[in-house]
């Protein structure tokens, strides 16, 4: 009888009755063939691999992370609550010591969902990983978390949520934004002034194969991860770097994914994108599961794999190497850069930007202000209005906020009530409270 060296949990929630639209890539049968493969391989009979039934995320779980306008209920379908809940189930099982590692194979995905939710972005409404992480922080008191986003699309939602959080290391490896949605995730994007350096973007050129991908993980990602010393490692496990994915241009294989998982050693993996539902997902998911559990994955090979046709061109190899150097340099210089930002004595830093909700066809304008703070993530103020109007104000006080930032946050909230906003929200994390005025 086959036994897994590491006790591994799976939440498998294919949501066979949920789709964005009938021929949309994010549709009912996305995990059908993966389920077929997982069942046919008898994965759930391996001693040490357990299947867990997902819980439902609650509205409070969502409000710890997001400002949903006008409310959580209108942003989410049942499937979103189950998907986020599935990630939470794995997280709890890991922290309760029931399992060593776990993989939430859930849909819909979430890593394009930002802190403000005014519609759907990149097939995502809410951020499954962030909802899980904040629930775990609240419940288990953990602090330092690393998220490695290996979806082929930049994890702009997760980046946005943790932009100002020095306790969360967010590393996204993705296809270069100049060639793929959402067109973001460049090395210059390194986090807000209180958390500069803990956001790391590694935009890989099209046609990167296993070789380049794994090299930059080994030489750049792992050393940074080790230095950050996270209590928990989360992998946003998108599977669209695969050579057969219809939406992307990368050349990653199932073996590559299994090896990546072996290197990253994530406690928790959460499924993100991946739309080659027949040619890639069954094999990639098998590779990830076996690798997590410590079971031999050397026979998980796509039937149509032709290594010669996806060999990595030398110019890609060189480019990826330079990218690694830049990334390591940025990481090493992060403290100096953070200090430089404070040189002119400013106390509040502002930025304005536009956010596109492509799945819902909405354009949002945001005016953001962050209190510069050396003691915590800083009080955050977001004014948001969409092309359909409806201005709102959202205030976020981070979990370990200092007294000054707590006060600033409360003041902003009180002032906002008299302002010209349809709704004013307060995410008061130290008190685990959400208020709407």
């Amino acid at each position: 009888m086959l036994k897994a060296p590491r006790k591994t949990g799976l939440v498998f929630f294919p949501a066979f009755d949920w789709a964005i639209s009938p021929t949309h890539p994010e549709r009912e049968e996305r995990l059908l063939y993966t389920q077929d493969q997982v069942f046919e391989e008898g994965i759930l009979d391996i001693e040490g691999i357990v299947e867990l039934r997902p819980e439902l995320a609650t509205i409070e779980d969502v409000q710890r992370v997001h400002f949903c306008v006008p409310d959580v209920e209108s942003a989410m379908t049942e499937s979103h609550f189950i998907s986020a809940g599935g990630a939470m189930t794995i997280g709890r099982a890991v922290l309760d010591g029931e399992i060593e590692r776990g993989f939430a194979l859930v849909r819909p995905p979430g890593h394009h969902a930002m802190r403000m939710v005014r519609g759907g972005r990149g097939f995502c409404q809410v951020n499954n990983e962030a909802i899980m992480i904040e629930a775990l922080r609240q419940r288990y008191g953990i602090r330092k978390v690393a998220i490695i986003d290996t979806d082929c699309h930049h994890g702009d939602g997760t980046q946005d949520i943790y932009w100002h959080d020095p306790d969360t290391l967010f590393i996204s490896l993705h296809q270069d934004g100049r060639t793929l949605y959402p067109g973001l995730g460049f090395p210059e994007e390194q986090g807000g002034p209180n958390a500069l350096g803990t956001t790391i973007n590694i935009p890989l050129p099209p046609n990167t194969s296993d070789a380049g991908y794994l090299e930059i993980v080994r030489d750049t990602v792992l050393p940074i991860l080790e230095e950050f010393e996270p209590e928990l490692i989360v992998n946003s496990a998108g599977q669209d770097n695969h050579y057969s994915d219809p939406l992307t241009n990368m050349n990653f294989t199932a073996q590559g994914y299994a090896e990546l998982t072996r290197l990253l050693k994530p406690h928790i993996a959460v499924l993100e994108g991946g739309y080659s539902i027949e040619g890639a997902l069954p094999y990639v998911n098998m590779g990830i599961i076996l690798s997590m559990a410590g079971v031999d994955y050397s026979h998980v090979i796509e039937p149509d794999l032709c290594p010669e046709s996806i060999a990595q061109p030398p110019e890609v190899t060189d480019y990826v190497r330079r990218l690694g150097e830049i990334t390591r340099r940025n990481w090493n210089e992060r403290h100096d850069r953070r200090a430089a930002l404070r040189a002119n004595g400013q106390t509040i830093l502002r930025r304005s930007r536009q956010v596109q909700y492509d799945t819902s066809g909405i354009l949002e304008r945001q005016e953001e202000a962050i209190r510069l703070c050396d003691d915590c993530g800083g009080a955050l103020r977001i004014e948001s209005v969409t092309d359909q109007g409806v201005p709102v104000l959202a205030i976020h006080i981070p979990p370990h906020a200092c007294d000054a930032c707590r006060q600033t946050g409360r003041d902003w909230f009180e002032q906002g009530k008299t302002g010209d906003f349809e709704q004013v929200f307060l995410q008061d994390r130290p008190n685990d409270r959400f208020e709407v005025a």
Binding site: P14, F16, D17, E41
Partner: protein, 567 residues
């Protein structure tokens, strides 16, 4: 009239039923070394004075295959496996003659790699040289396309006595379980066939010409002829027979827990609307996880003869049985001795029983009466905890759609139905300690034989249609046929029920007992690029376990109800 006979580990029970109920009942000791004799002895007893021509149905349940597997008294099997990508197929090795060969099929039933006939023939010739007569051929995803298994079987057949194919076992996906199931079928085939051909012959000599059915682990039956093709289905049929025997006493409108309390163990099963729950995939049996359909049961090592010890001031009950209770000359104190001590069971040597319970009491600081009470109550609490655990486990089974997640039926049992040797004595204590109503199955002593006699023929088929490939496959058969783009779920349902009916008739089912139930009903678009190019339709149908029509037994109204003290 119909006959049910269950050869158990200790006793062989037999009943003769007519439309009004049990006419004859018999209990003889099982001779483990000669089950054939046990079967005939049981039959002779209940047939005394009955015209064999009046018998219309005979159902047998035996421990034959179970024992053969447990004691490893099975013939060697040659195993041929086609794997393709995935887990290393070596991890599924069944024995020395295990051959991984070329050939692979993917999840949609497409050929990835062809079979190499020369390779197969060379292996088959080796089987013949080594005297291997039974061969099992199993491919990954063979239930989506049996072509490779069929081809390999054709090549091997000239060299051996019998070839079993994986896709004939079940429509469920699980390559390792398909390997184990096909292996078991092949390995118990010679012993099963020899035994039941002998039984069939003996019955004919007695003038019994009624069809003979064999009990399966899923609480259903199959004809003797069908059992030769799938002998593995007969493992652990005894516990299933007992559970089926409890059904007449179960109110259909309640969720009911059945407790079969034996000497060493208590088996727990759940009835929903009078129908027992089935294992989601198949039975797990020793080192084998299989695709053999079976009732969902949970077993706890507590029974009337469980060994009782005190260690560190704590009572420990079971899981071992160290011979009979003290009252019957055994070495260790058991719950049965407690019943004797309390005067609730008038049997055996009361003085020996009481002396034993007194010893236990001394170590607990209790007199013999209190010790006996405590001992029984502890056993009941353990059993009830196992019931709760099983219900919780059933309710936690994963689901894969939002609909199931939000509207999932949760089992809330309101009644315990108890049967088995010591059941009568345990029942009042269980009633006092559980919020459920507790009742005793009437005729509990032969409920297993009644269950066998009345169990209907069960079977299951799964159909997968892939309208993009234009192909329909049905499990448990070699047939595949073409379909066009206009093939719908309705067509799939019609063809699946036809296939199920045919299979059921082949397995000995009666037309009036065909209670078809849909167990899977899903369909998906197959999308290429951004347009729909076909549909993947999956339906599964079963004849669920139940009782045949035309035989009435005293129902729930006549079962003895034990009131809990609070009422």
């Amino acid at each position: 009239m119909i006959i049910g006979l269950d050869v158990g580990g200790t006793h062989t029970d037999a009943v003769l039923l007519d439309c009004r109920g049990v006419v004859e009942r018999a209990k003889v000791s099982t001779d483990e070394t000669d089950l054939f004799r046990s079967v005939l002895a049981g039959l002779d007893l209940i047939l005394e004075g009955t015209d064999p021509g009046c018998i219309t149905r005979i159902v047998l349940s035996t421990t034959l295959t179970t024992n053969a597997i447990v004691r490893n008294r099975v013939e060697p099997v040659g195993m041929i496996v086609c794997s393709g990508p995935g887990l290393d197929p070596e991890v599924h090795r069944t024995g020395p003659d295990y051959h991984v060969v070329a050939g692979a099929i993917d999840h949609r039933g497409r050929e990835i790699q062809p079979v190499d006939p020369d390779e197969i023939v060379a292996i088959a010739a080796g089987f013949r040289e080594r005297g291997i007569r039974q061969v099992a051929v199993v491919g990954k995803f063979s239930c989506r396309n049996p072509a490779h298994e069929v081809r390999i079987a054709e090549l091997v057949e000239p060299y051996v006595e019998r070839v079993f194919m994986g896709h004939r076992t079940s429509g469920h996906l699980s390559f390792p379980r398909r390997i184990a199931t096909t292996f078991l079928n092949a390995s118990v085939y010679p012993i099963h066939r020899a035994f039941f051909e002998a039984v069939g012959g003996a019955l004919r000599e007695k003038g019994l010409s009624a069809p003979v059915h064999i009990m399966k682990a899923d609480g259903g039956t199959m004809s003797l002829e069908a059992s030769i093709d799938a002998p593995g289905q007969t493992v652990l049929s005894g516990p299933a027979a007992s559970i089926m025997g409890a059904i007449p006493a179960a109110p259909a409108e309640e969720d009911v827990v059945v407790l079969d309390i034996g000497g060493t163990t208590t088996d727990i099963a759940i009835l929903v609307g009078g129908v027992p729950l089935l294992q989601p995939v198949g039975i797990a049996f020793g080192r084998f996880k299989t695709l053999i359909r079976s009732l969902q049961t949970s077993s706890i090592g507590i029974g009337g003869d469980s060994h009782i010890q005190v260690s560190d001031g704590q009572l420990a009950i079971g899981p071992d049985r160290c011979g009979p209770p003290r009252a019957f000359g055994g070495p260790e104190v058991t719950p049965t001795d407690a019943f004797v001590t309390l005067g609730e069971l008038n049997a055996g040597d009361a003085a020996r029983a009481t002396a034993g319970v007194t010893e236990i009491g001394e170590r607990l600081g209790l007199d013999e009466h209190a010790a006996a009470q405590t001992l029984i109550e502890t056993a009941c609490d353990r059993i009830l905890a196992a019931v709760d655990e099983m219900v919780e486990q059933v309710n936690a089974q994963p689901v894969y759609t939002i609909h199931e997640m939000l509207d999932g039926y949760r089992i809330r049992p309101t009644r315990l139905l108890v049967l088995g040797g010591p059941a009568e004595h345990f029942a009042p204590y269980l009633a006092a300690r559980s919020s459920m109503k507790v009742s005793l199955v009437p005729d509990w002593g032969v409920a297993n034989a009644i269950g066998a006699a009345m169990a209907r023929t069960t079977c299951e088929v799964s159909l997968v249609a892939d309208t993009e490939r234009g192909l329909v496959s049905v499990s448990n058969s070699d047939a595949q046929w073409r379909c066009d783009r206009h093939y719908t779920r309705v067509d799939a349902l019609r063809q699946a029920s036809e296939a199920l009916r045919n299979l059921a008739i082949e397995s000995g089912a009666d037309d009036e007992d065909m209670d078809l139930e849909l167990t899977e009903d899903i369909q998906f678009n197959i999308v290429n690029g951004f347009s729909t190019t076909g549909r993947n339709i999956r339906v599964s149908l079963q004849i669920k376990p139940g009782l045949i029509h035309g035989y009435r037994l005293p129902g729930s109204a006549s079962s003895r109800l034990f009131r809990s003290e609070g009422c």
